[in-house]
């Protein structure tokens, strides 16, 4: 009986604070990989926290609170990117990498601070987001398509292109290192 009550109980303010303390870096990193912009990533997490707080009656106790907020944060990051660049996820046919290295991008890359970040830089927005959502966030292809407002075929193509480019870049990085 107690278990049932606990399962149905709303997450408390303390639990939210504990989740922030434990997972702030992870949420922020996930959002940063999507937005490639510190402030947008910070805002995404903040929006997610407030949204999660308001909707906490929807939270299911069989999932971890941190995981639930993580998902909301990733959604918030996608929304913020889309709000800033409304057509960013509609250019599925393009195969032009974002090679214009702005100081901001360099900064974010150094923030991410690893080979993956460097490799992700060679992807277009749609390729990067599809790869991040599939490979790192482990979303289903259908979920990605729904979230980006496109079809599964388009997501697959973006993912294939992304993976291909990443493998080439990683191979180059490996050969440089050796």
């Amino acid at each position: 009986m107690v278990a049932v009550i606990e399962r149905g109980a709303l997450p408390t303010q303390t639990e939210f604070h504990e989740a922030i303390a434990r997972r702030a870096d992870r949420w922020y990193s996930a959002c940063l990989r999507i937005t490639r912009d510190r402030e947008l990533a910070e805002d995404a997490v903040q929006d997610a926290l407030l949204s999660a707080w308001r909707k906490r009656h929807q939270y299911q106790r069989d999932a971890q609170l941190e995981t639930w907020i993580h998902r909301i944060a990733v959604n918030a990051a996608l929304q913020l990117v889309r709000r800033q660049r409304p057509y960013v996820f509609e250019t599925l046919d393009t195969d032009i990498a974002d090679d214009g290295e702005s100081p901001q991008q360099d900064l974010e890359d150094s923030d991410l601070g690893n080979a993956l970040a460097a490799a992700l830089h060679h992807l277009t927005d749609i390729e990067r987001v599809c790869f991040v959502l599939k490979h790192l966030e482990q979303w289903r292809l259908t979920e990605i398509a729904d979230e980006l407002g496109t079809n599964v075929g388009g997501v697959k193509q973006a993912l294939f292109r992304g993976v291909k480019k990443l493998r080439v870049t990683m191979a180059q990085l490996r050969s440089k290192a050796s």
Partner: protein, 246 residues
Amino acid sequence: MNDELLTLYYYRDGLTEAERRDVAAALESDAALRAAYEQLCRDLAQLGTPQEVAVKADVVARWHDSIERAARLERQRLPSRGRLLHVPSFAWGTVLAAVLIAGIGIGFYVAGTRVPVLDGASVATGADSTLPASRTSSLAFVRGLKVHLSKSRRELAGLPDDAAAERAALIAQMIEQNRLFERAAAQNGSRDLARVLRAFEPILERLAADDVTPREAEVLQAQLAFELNVMLTKLGRGESEQAGPI
């Protein structure tokens, strides 16, 4: 059999059961394909452990604070939900008025501060004469603020009186938006505008509380009106000086 099928096979997504069986059979029987798949697995595994970025302590503190505020607003409203039916029109009307006045005031304020100081003399707004990077960004800022305020007004006006939690959430949202504008102002070097926006926050919070009496709300409203008058007067003076004798 190509890399694309192998990629979907790796992710266990996007293939039908029959297609998965075909790929598995091909991998079983074709050593070269198996080697290619193993290489793909190694490459993708290498991409699977991204380094986390440490978020700044002040940002984390802001996140904690936002939860704290949301919870506090909710606590203020939820225990005596019934009171909304007695005080609400006045209190909520006051909140709306305050927010709208603030929006208009800030609009004037920003518009005033972006007037270029051609002779190098500082206008009454002092440090804020350097506010915007460009006229376009200032206008966008003011427009964004006004849109936010209009939206808040519509949403608040459309809520039923007994939706205490929703009201609390909306006020929390308005305060968060206010903080975003405050931060934008601060980042643009407009310390005064940021300060004014900060000053609105506790007043809005208090006005939103359901234990606020009509008398207290009146005092708070007067306080807010006073702050806005001071600001508008300063701006008016600044504009006069700008348009002064030729």
